[in-house]
């Protein structure tokens, strides 16, 4: 009894200490690398999909670890159906990017449970590559890139682990080899990255992409909506000016008009039907003609400089003006589009309006913000001229201690009151909202306009780039004879914002604003921050924004003017071939490695051949020696003696037992004998 128990324990212990079988180890490695590939996706996947993936991986791991059989087909099929069902429940659709990504990831997990042949490994690896790529829909930060490199090394290590047929080196060595492959791949991929002609995306759009996950203006304005945009460096649209570019302070890109305020959010009421034909607009001076290349927004509005005179032509998606001069396309903009506008900076919009038609622009929520209303009445008493009232208000914003910040304090129910009299800190939407509220409270028709302000001319291609961070909100008030006139209260608070751009007013903070570093310029922290910003900026500039234009610009800076894609491919092939050539140079040289001992022997044979005694092909060293010694015509006795000793030594070195063969002294002696033979 005791004995059998002991032996069982022993067997168990042996069982645990025994190295895992190769198949098991390889499969577990594959699971780990798949886990690494999937892990970053959990940040955005629906929780159920993440749980399913983890369950599939663990299931496979358990089967492998215990050496159990793969699940039968019917079970796999029902699991797939469940996976498909939960994906649909999470997204309410099958098509589109997000459900697509979720399904590819689930597919990867399911494929692991259906692996039978070596071929299936490649399927898993190739799907893994694709899953890695889809993660970039959500994040392209340096951290993501780092995780990608780790996952890639793991995948390569797994792939090569499966290729061994006999001896398998330890894991560390395989890992090193995987990393080495990736390391060797870096120079060539750098060449490809820099020189591969970039194609301007998108090539097509997947249905349902439009609305989700895009940054851009929204169809309402509440505190924070533009602040969020200000963090994004994405390009909203690019503009190519045909006429000279107007000054920065005139660059108001108009998109949306808001008329309704509910105490928290500005929206536009539903009766803003598109109007056929041109609104009542008179223009003066020269037009500014330009071409806008707009990134997809998933929304209908277009961007025009204040104030466009004629409608742009969009293919298959006609645009109209609404009566308050919003330019709307018929359908959402889901692709990058290009359209032409001609705007007149000097204009009069709807100068003749009946009092009734202006009532819409005086709406205010009842019984809210009493302090603001009282303040408005106070201002109203000062002047009867609406324009003067507006100027006074701007003066007020300018004079008081209002500050312009991306991190405004939260506001309560009477948001305008709190903003005006207690927090006094906000972003453009706060100022525009408060301004319009006060003007309305004074009985002046006013409205909020959102869009973009400013833009930066790219010196490389001359395009003006307008980014999400240029998003802005301002106000328009209606004045007798003059119509709708633009007032920008933000300009009163932070003039630099309008004259230059946002970054000049509010420096970026790190880690999502958790750490604001206000120490002096010379401090270590701030130096670190500047460095980090520089690295981040370089990453953004050189990796993330390496667009076709940037590529052309970079090549131009290298002195390559007018490079078209054909030149680029030529250049890429030449430099790429160079890199590959350097890498494979050792393989190109067909130098046979000879045994050093044989080399010495062969040189003696050469010496003898020159002396007129070539070694015959059938002759071994001994026969050769005997023939040479027997010769009495040309060779002197001393030379013959040397040859004799050389060949005897060679014979013993070559054919005697290992100890003699490996002696270094014998070899050096042989070499010295060779010189005697000459």
């Amino acid at each position: 009894m005791d004995l059998s128990l002991n032996s069982a324990l022993l067997a168990m212990r042996r069982g645990t200490s025994r190295p895992m079988s190769r198949d098991k180890a390889d499969t577990l490695l594959l699971l780990v690398s798949c886990g690494l590939v999937i892990a970053p996706h959990t940040a955005h996947l629906p929780i159920w999909t993440s749980i399913q993936c983890a369950a599939l991986l663990l299931w496979r791991g358990w089967l492998t670890f215990r050496g159990l059989r793969m699940p039968p087909k019917w079970l796999l099929l029902s699991v797939s159906v469940i996976a498909l069902g939960t994906t649909y429940l999470s997204f309410h659709r099958f098509f589109g990017r997000e459900p697509g990504v979720a399904m590819v990831i689930l597919l990867l997990g399911l494929k692991l449970l259906e692996m039978h042949a070596k071929r299936d490994l490649f399927v898993v690896v190739l799907v893994s590559f694709f899953v890695m790529l889809t993660n970039f829909f959500y994040s392209q930060s340096m951290g993501t890139a780092f995780v990608m490199v780790l996952a890639l090394i793991a995948t390569l290590t797994t792939q090569l682990s499966f290729q061994y047929t006999g001896a398998v080196p330890p894991f560390a060595m395989r890992l090193r080899m995987g990393a080495m492959i990736l390391g060797l791949a870096v120079p060539l991929s750098l060449v490809l990255f820099v020189l591969f002609p970039r194609i301007e995306g998108p090539l097509w759009s997947i249905p349902g992409d439009g609305a989700s996950g895009r940054t851009g203006l929204s169809d309402h304005m509440s505190p924070g909506s533009i602040t969020d945009l200000a963090q994004s460096d994405d390009i909203a649209f690019r503009v190519k000016f045909i006429d000279p570019i107007p000054p920065q302070t005139k660059l108001y890109w108009r998109a949306l008009i808001f008329d309704t305020y509910d105490g928290h959010t500005w929206t536009h009421s539903d009766d803003q039907h598109p109007q056929i034909g041109r609104p009542d607009l008179s223009v003066r001076g020269d037009p500014v003609r330009y071409q806008v290349t707009q990134e997809p927004t998933g929304q209908r509005w277009l961007f025009a400089l204040d104030l466009p005179h004629s409608l742009p032509a969009l293919q298959g998606n006609p645009a109209t003006f609404s009566k308050d001069m919003q330019t709307m396309a018929l359908r959402p903009i889901n692709d990058r589009v290009r359209y032409d506008f001609a705007s007149y900076p000097d204009y009069t919009l709807q100068a003749n309006q009946s009092r009734n038609s202006l009532l819409q622009w005086l709406q205010l929520p009842i019984n809210s913000n009493p302090k603001a209303r009282a303040f408005a009445n106070q201002l109203r008493a000062q002047s009867s001229d609406n324009a003067a009232l507006a100027d006074n208000l701007l003066q007020y914003f300018h004079g008081q201690h209002f500050s312009y910040t991306l991190q405004p304090p939260l506001l309560g129910d009477d948001a305008i009151d709190e903003f005006l009299f207690s927090t006094q800190a906000g972003f453009c939407e706060h100022y525009a909202g408060a301004f319009v509220f006060l003007m309305r409270a004074m009985g002046v028709p006013a409205r909020v306009v959102t869009g973009y302000q400013g833009g930066e001319v790219n010196p490389v291609d001359g395009y003006m780039e307008v980014r999400q961070s240029d998003a802005h909100a301002w106000a328009e008030i209606w004045l007798e004879q003059r119509g709708w006139v633009r007032y920008d209260p933000t300009a009163a608070v932070a003039p630099e914002r309008i004259q230059r751009n946002l970054v000049s007013v509010i420096p970026r903070t790190t880690l999502g604003g958790l750490i604001t570093l206000h120490s002096g310029k010379e401090s270590l922290l701030s130096k670190l921050r500047f460095n980090w910003e520089a690295v981040n900026n370089a990453w953004n500039q050189w990796v993330l924004n390496y667009s076709p234009e940037k590529q052309r610009g970079f090549l131009q800076s290298l002195g390559l003017k007018n490079v078209d894609w054909e030149n680029m491919i030529e250049l890429m092939v030449i430099i790429g071939a160079g890199v590959v050539g350097i890498m494979s140079l050792p393989l190109m040289i067909n130098r046979q490695k000879k045994d050093p001992l044989q080399n010495v022997y062969l040189s003696l044979c050469q010496v003898m051949a020159r002396a007129g005694y070539p070694r015959e092909k059938y002759e071994g060293p001994r026969d050769y020696r005997l023939r040479l010694i027997a010769d009495n015509t040309k060779l002197t006795p001393t030379r013959k003696n040397a040859i004799d000793r050389f060949l005897r030594l060679y014979e013993s070195l070559r054919y005697a037992d290992l100890q003699v063969q490996q002696s270094k002294s014998g070899f050096t002696q042989l070499k010295s004998l060779l010189s005697e033979c000459k």
Binding site: K118, R119, F122, V123, L126, F129, F130, M132, L133, T134, F136, F137, Q140, T144, A145, M148, L152, L156, Q159, L160, F162, Q163, Y164, T165, G166, A167, P169, M177, I181, L182, L184, A185, V186, P187, L188, S189, L192, F193, F196, R198, I199, E200, G201, P202, L203, W204, V543, L544, N545, Y546, S547, V580, M583, S584, P586, L587, M588, N590, Q592, K593
Partner: protein
């Protein structure tokens, strides 16, 4: 006409493109020109994936997507380099091949020598001929090491069997490419005739009927004599040998028997009926040689012009079988 063109094309392809050569004596060096490389099926799928990745990256303007695509592409190129390196610059020599009987597997010993500082893994060797099943054996060759692989081929007829062409191939490390090389080893195996299965008994000469089992010549122990090469192991006088240690001057001795003269065993090809097929006759001779050796009956052997005096033992047997294998008369 067409056949001639095709033949010429195949010839050019084999000689020039595939560098198929006849057996080369000595060490064969797999220089770069002799090693070929093409994507495997997995490699083609890999290429397809790259295209998909590129399109996805371009469509969504994913810069990191481009980085990933190009990195993976370059990994493929590095894999090409490594797969080629795994095969190229290998040294090959053929070892010995032991004689076998027709129908048995002839074994060829092949040596792969790696004179480089890196290990080579998963090199598969197999005979490459149309009529041979493609059975491959995998080998790993350490840095500065030699690896021996035994490949076998079923022998069909007697005579010399030259080693068929060998194909070496490898997909290591990533399996995306297949690198291969052809090599005709300079090796041949001697194939003895197939020993007839149900042959008549040994043709004991002398008209008199012999008594017993034909062990006559072995029965009368007549003392011991010094060992001679070719003496059967069965007849070594182990007791005598054990008395004196070989290291101290002891020698192998063989038991000497007398009385074998009574029944002379002569295996003479010419004695077999001429109506029999030559191969059948050779086959029967081979069986008799084996039979005689097994029974320990010394025998003389006559085949065409070749004659071997009465003897016994492996050397004698091998000489006889060799003569049978290489017989060219009728």
């Amino acid at each position: 006409m067409f056949a001639a063109v095709k033949k010429r094309y195949v010839n050019i392809r084999n000689k020039w493109l595939y560098q198929l050569r006849d057996a080369e004596p000595g060490e064969v060096f797999l220089k770069q020109r002799r090693v070929f490389i093409m994507p495997s099926a997995a490699g083609l799928a890999f290429g397809g994936t790259l295209v998909v990745l590129f399109i996805a990256a371009a469509n969504y303007s994913l810069s990191l997507g481009f980085v990933l695509t190009f990195l993976i592409t370059s990994c493929g190129v590095v894999d090409m380099h490594l797969t080629f390196r795994n095969m190229a610059h290998l040294y090959l020599t053929a070892g010995q091949a032991h004689p076998v009987f027709a129908g048995e597997e002839a074994q060829f010993e092949l040596h792969l020598i790696n004179r480089y500082k890196y290990n080579r893994y998963a090199i598969c060797l197999g005979f490459y001929a149309e009529d041979l099943p493609n059975l491959e054996q995998a080998a790993d060759i350490g840095a500065n090491a030699t690896c021996t692989v035994n490949l076998h081929v079923t022998s069909k007829r007697r005579g010399w069997l030259t080693a068929p062409r060998v194909r070496l191939q490898t997909r290591f490390p990533l399996g995306l490419l297949r690198s291969w090389a052809y090599w005709m080893p300079d090796a041949k195996a001697l194939i003895y005739p197939y020993p007839e299965e149900y042959s008549p008994p040994l043709p004991m000469s002398g008209s008199d009927e012999l008594d017993g089992q034909g062990q006559a010549g072995q029965e009368d122990f007549a003392g011991v004599r010094a060992y001679q090469a070719g003496d059967s192991m069965k007849h070594l006088a182990w007791r005598q040998i054990a008395r004196v240690d070989v290291a101290e001057g002891g020698a192998l001795v063989t038991k000497h028997f007398e009385g074998g003269t009574k029944s002379e065993l002569c295996l003479d090809f010419a004695q077999l009926p001429r109506t029999m097929d030559v191969e059948m006759r050779l086959s029967r001779m081979a069986r008799w040689v084996l039979e005689a050796e097994q029974q320990g009956l010394p025998y003389s052997f006559k085949l065409g012009g070749q004659e071997f005096a009465t003897a016994l033992g492996p050397a004698h047997q091998n000489a006889c079988l060799r003569a049978l294998a290489l017989y060219e008369g009728h």
